[in-house]
Symmetry: C2
Subunit: 453 residues, 2 copies
């Protein structure tokens, strides 16, 4: 009897030994970063936060960047990750499309974030740093960094967005289990946090502020450095191992994708799954479509402006040209905390501006509906962030049914939702609603951006 | 550079096609079940709850029982599961022992329970049943059965032990996501539950009562059947796929275990990992030791009596000869809800009585300490139940360090602890204490057992 193979595994020695650097294939130049407007001197104090090797990785022009053996060794605790054919989901949708998903949730951090956390901790450790600070939204990044700091013998301090700190208390316990100190942001521990608490006594917070607090603390201590989980070109670079593995696994399955889908926060998950395929397109070797899915409540690519903006909320970081809603944009409290960031990274933004990738935005209730459908069909509860990619795949698979086409769809299931059951509970109880963002709200936030081109 | 391989995967076509039936190799006869004492007529109404095929599996004498293709197909959603070498844990313990673990947590039910849930749902469906009822402790079994019922188109009603229902609310959401109806036990919906609520107005409950309620409901409805996740010989049979896979994977690694360790609730997890190896010992082909780990708070093998007892609390089920604390034993509220069952299955009990397997009991704080150590070293948070097996492996690895021996240790990491972070939070806060069970308490409970031999 023929076996319908639904999982495609790589052997440990088949794990990629290099990350893919898309800068080598870009047919355009990235707009340069600009010094911050408000704090002229700060630019020079922020820059040295990042180890030279990570800066080199952000500007290198060679296509392949070797993964140090120490990082490969630690990657092998959970990599290569599995690629699944979603046969049961296909059946549930009665679609002729083939749906594959790459699953990044099989580690204690619960998501893909560990790929760059381990790499960054390694490089910071080599640079002589003793302690890392960071900001985290839903907590996947904080969990990943806590694990990585533990693995490489660094101390770790995490500012966690207040609303997530309370909605997802158990991610905090994971961080603490790995020895990290976790505080809700806004916190009274920093100048920025204390100031914010005056306007936001409930302490809901947002990711830009958490980042600002972590940065403020790191700047005040010689042994500490601030680091960040997404958005920077090197963090996307580290995630390309996802797509590189998936490429080999799809080859095992004898297929090549017509469409690659990832959810979009700042961009490291999306870039992680898409760039290994976008490379072929940039080289004229395929027509693959790469589709990012963002929440309607935080529609930076689909409704933002391509403008210079800060990556934090204090204005001390360099200005980067990004699709942004403005760093003062108040994202509604959706459950996909990892997608609430106000902008998309400069690399993803430039690719979108050049029409090399596509974007679409969906509402929470439809996203959760697909998340539940996926869990029922495939036996894994997706993180709310990942459920955006699931929904993107579901929509495309239904389009294929209508059109009678048979596309091969690949998406990244970037994490599990076991810490997000309160969100599913709210969905099942019918408590989630569509969120309407007014054009005026976006315009008002964009109006506060620095006036530079 | 040589790659230190830490994961051993089987290809889909290497998944075992048969379960292993240890009855074929037993050098003794199992003591027969006896009709219940209190409800003479009930025995005949309980027996037909179980489909003929499952009854056959409980008494068959052939060593290999074919896994139906439909069950193999659904198993392939998450099987074969990975086997890992715990190199980082070995390093942390500075032990010369080799430690391997089989990981069963990579599915939405979060544990090994799905192996028998899928099989049972398949056989009940084939028997024409429309709806299954069950009792669950920590919720792993309820989640697994909810998923299985969804997969095979059956309705599902779960009575969840009250204390777990409140301590682990998110497992309830998983069950609901798969369409199950979940009620806390004791519930006013059954006669047994209503009666129990009088003595236990706080509704803490216990597994024996949850089972009783589920059974009472099933007996009152022709289209419903009661089913159970552990303890019955067929449920242990279905779990043997764990050990059969691990055997192949260890062969890949070029080793054979000296010691196989599993945590013990009623016995399906322990039997699942151990029987494929115990077979070799029963056949005189190896000296492998099989070690079960139970909580000190519920020490049925280490401190119970080998007596006839009921598997539920109402006394309607047949009497089985088991190591038991007595079905009225009030297990303290430990976090390992899946190990709070008052007895060990008749099969495991008989093997223990014949000194073919070993047993040890550990306290919560030491178990959680090893759980945290494991999470830090290997990047997976163990379920509190599974942390018992982790601790067993840690103790044995430390003994090997003392003795200067190099045993190969295999244990089953039966599930993840992402729904148990409140328990880890309590441990990290120093709130867990050793539990002392008086001999008098056990004696008092045993004194209530029916006086039969």
């Amino acid at each position: 009897m023929p076996i319908s193979q639904t999982r495609f595994d790589l052997q440990p020695d088949e794990m990629p030994t290099h990350w893919y650097n898309i800068l080598s294939d870009l047919p355009f130049e990235l707009p340069p970063d600009l010094p911050p407007q408000s704090h002229g001197a700060a630019a020079t104090t922020v820059r040295p936060q990042v180890p030279l090797e990570l800066i080199r990785q952000s500007i290198a022009r060679r296509a392949e960047i070797a993964i140090p053996e120490e990082i490969q060794a630690i990657y092998r605790q959970w990599r290569p990750t599995p690629l699944h054919r979603a046969l049961h989901l296909e059946a549930a949708l009665q679609t002729p499309a083939q749906i594959y998903f790459k699953y990044e949730g099989n580690n204690s951090s619960g998501s893909h974030k560990l790929n760059t956390a381990m790499a960054q901790a390694y490089y910071y450790k080599r640079a002589g740093v003793k302690r890392l600070t960071t900001g985290t939204g839903a907590g996947q990044w904080g969990s990943a960094l806590a694990m990585a700091c533990h693995a490489f013998g660094l101390a770790c301090k995490v500012y966690m967005v207040g609303i997530s700190y309370r909605q997802k208390p158990y991610r905090k316990v994971v961080m603490q289990m790995y020895g990290a100190t976790v505080v809700p942001s806004p916190s009274p521990e920093t100048r920025a946090g204390a100031q914010f608490l005056i306007q936001d006594p409930d302490g809901r917070g947002n990711l830009a502020l958490a980042i600002t607090e972590a940065l403020e603390e790191a700047l005040a201590d010689d042994d500490s450095r601030f680091c960040i989980g997404s958005g920077e070109s090197y963090s996307i670079l580290h995630q390309t191992i996802i797509g590189l593995e998936a490429r080999k696994q799809l080859a095992q399955a004898g297929v090549y994708p017509d469409l690659v889908i990832g959810s979009l926060g700042a961009g490291s998950n999306f870039g992680g799954i898409a760039f290994a395929f976008l490379r072929d397109r940039l080289r004229g070797e395929s027509q693959v479509r790469c589709l990012s899915v963002e929440p309607s409540a935080c529609p930076k690519l689909t409704r933002g402006a391509y403008r210079y903006d800060h990556t934090d909320s204090s204005g001390v970081t360099p200005l980067q040209k990004m699709y942004t809603l403005g760093q003062s944009f108040a994202t509604p409290d959706i459950h996909a905390g990892g997608l609430r960031y106000h902008a998309s990274s400069k690399l993803i933004s430039a690719l979108y501006h050049q029409r090399l990738i596509e974007a679409v935005a969906y509402q929470q209730p439809e996203v959760f509906k697909s998340g539940v459908l996926f869990a029922q069909a495939e036996g894994i509860v997706p993180a709310p962030e990942s459920a955006h990619a699931v929904h993107g795949a579901v929509v495309e698979a239904l389009k294929a049914r209508e059109a009678g086409t048979r596309p091969v769809i690949l998406f990244c299931l970037s994490g599990h939702g076991y810490f997000d059951m309160a969100a599913y509970e709210a969905y099942l109880a019918g408590d989630l609603r569509d969120v309407v963002i007014d054009d005026e709200q976006i315009a008002a936030s964009l109006a506060l951006l620095p006036d530079v081109e």
